[in-house]
Symmetry: C2
Subunit: 100 residues, 2 copies
DNA sequence: ATCGAAGTTCGAAGATCCTCGTAGTACGGT
DNA sequence: ACCGTACTACGAGGATCTTCGAACTTCGAT
């Protein structure tokens, strides 16, 4: 139940972040977290299988976009807003402001 | 010498833009254009073959990130800053500000 | 009119990615 | 102790992506 591995701020790479955001499912996860942070991604009603969801959340976590904490049998995800804003000011807001 | 097909502003999709930016070569192209706009990508000294370069520039163009105009035997590329800033304010600046 | 330079098109090879099902682990509650 | 829930690990299939070389087109210059 140890904490999961996350990149430090100075290990985050822009290419990995962009790649993580460049998927429809992961983008919906990020949007949802921006709306209601600190939530289990399994309860978002995305239309994918549990194993697919694990893959996407891991991609976001390893890219440094989200932080994941175990709580009971669930995993609570939250946006790494401070880190992303510090590294790429405006990026996250620009993505979230996207009409499409 | 027909102009090449470009998406209108309202046809640009955030997922396509992010995917276009999520490649090291294309990111270097975008950075270079941010530094010196209206330039032929062939003269950037990226270490890829001409056909690979064509592929990347087309990806950027079709995503709506760059505008490409034929001039002589060359293709002049320029960042679609206004469109991107209007759609996703802060995104491009955030990406360009990226230390890594 | 011929030549070279700049780019494109068309495969093709190899890598990466997204998705899933199956099997398994970890935790909380009865 | 048992069960159900939430999630993970490990493939595998199929799609997409990146890269390239070879052959071709287009344009400007000689």
């Amino acid at each position: 139940m140890h904490t999961l591995p996350h990149p430090e701020r100075d290990e985050i790479r822009i290419a990995a972040v962009l790649h993580a955001l460049a998927d429809p499912v992961r983008l919906r996860i990020v949007r949802e977290l921006a709306r209601a942070d600190g939530v289990s991604c399994g309860s978002m009603g995305l239309g994918v299988s549990p194993s697919t969801l694990t893959h996407h959340v891991r991609t976001l976590r390893e890219a440094g976009v989200v932080r994941v904490q175990p709580r009971g049998t669930s995993r609570i995800s939250s946006l790494r807003r401070e880190d992303l804003d510090a590294l790429y000011p405006g990026l996250l807001d620009g993505v979230l402001a996207a009409p499409r």
